[in-house]
Symmetry: C2
DNA sequence: TCCGCTACCATGCGACACAAGGTACCTGTC
DNA sequence: GACAGGTACCTTGTGTCGCATGGTAGCGGA
């Protein structure tokens, strides 16, 4: 479908906070996040997107990391949301709802003509 | 507000179709669109964004243009949605709703922890 | 005459998602 | 014990798109 390109643009700005939401209360590692997002409609992504994104979140102090051995395979870097990450997520959630309401209103308007 | 940056990313991909929605049934010119979007929360934008965007829509055949004299000031280039533009808008609206549902679900999940 | 408004457009930049490729470790098979 | 394949990490280069900036031109008021 050509419409996949649309989602690529829509993901911008939201993916970051979807990851943050997935990390609330539950530490996860990069590969796991890719698989979790892959199951959600419109949020399919790859490692090439996730790792730079996680590095950014870490630089901004929104997540913390720790290495853990795996029972099978290489060690994993687990990501945990900080308190600051939780606040950022809450702020975004509010912004997101405002934004959705605005877009919905305009699209609705357009449908009527 | 620093949060303005968030909206910059959220606008990606949606702005294009918000413009298309505003053009449904009613021809408008560029400057008018900037003012119309400026009144909507989270969609404030400038000419530097709108004109390249309109040029893109025109290249893709989603809008058509015509010049009209203005009673006061320089002539205006009016943009009208084509049938193809209407179809693209309908397709996007469906994608947008799916995407919103996905993001809402993940954000909700994160809030519970 | 000169400032400011309306209205158009072009150029260059930065942020971000993604494709592609690279490293390293473990497991199973021949 | 060599080697294919899976897991998991990360880096580099590319393309898109919103936006800042700036430039042109006509009109009206001080």
């Amino acid at each position: 479908m050509v419409a996949e390109k649309v989602f690529t643009q829509l993901r911008r700005g939201t993916l970051e906070f979807c990851v943050l939401a997935l990390l609330q209360g539950e530490p996860r590692y990069g590969f796991e996040l890719v698989k979790a997002l892959g199951e959600v409609d419109g949020l399919v992504t790859t490692e090439g997107t996730i790792y730079p994104l996680l590095a950014r979140l870490r630089r901004e102090g929104l997540v913390e990391t720790s290495w853990r051995e795996s029972e099978s395979g290489p060690p994993r870097r687990y990501y945990t949301s900080t308190a600051e990450g939780g606040q950022a997520l809450a702020a975004f959630t509010a912004d997101w709802q405002r934004f959705c309401a605005s877009v919905d209103a305009i699209l609705e308007n357009g449908r009527r003509g």
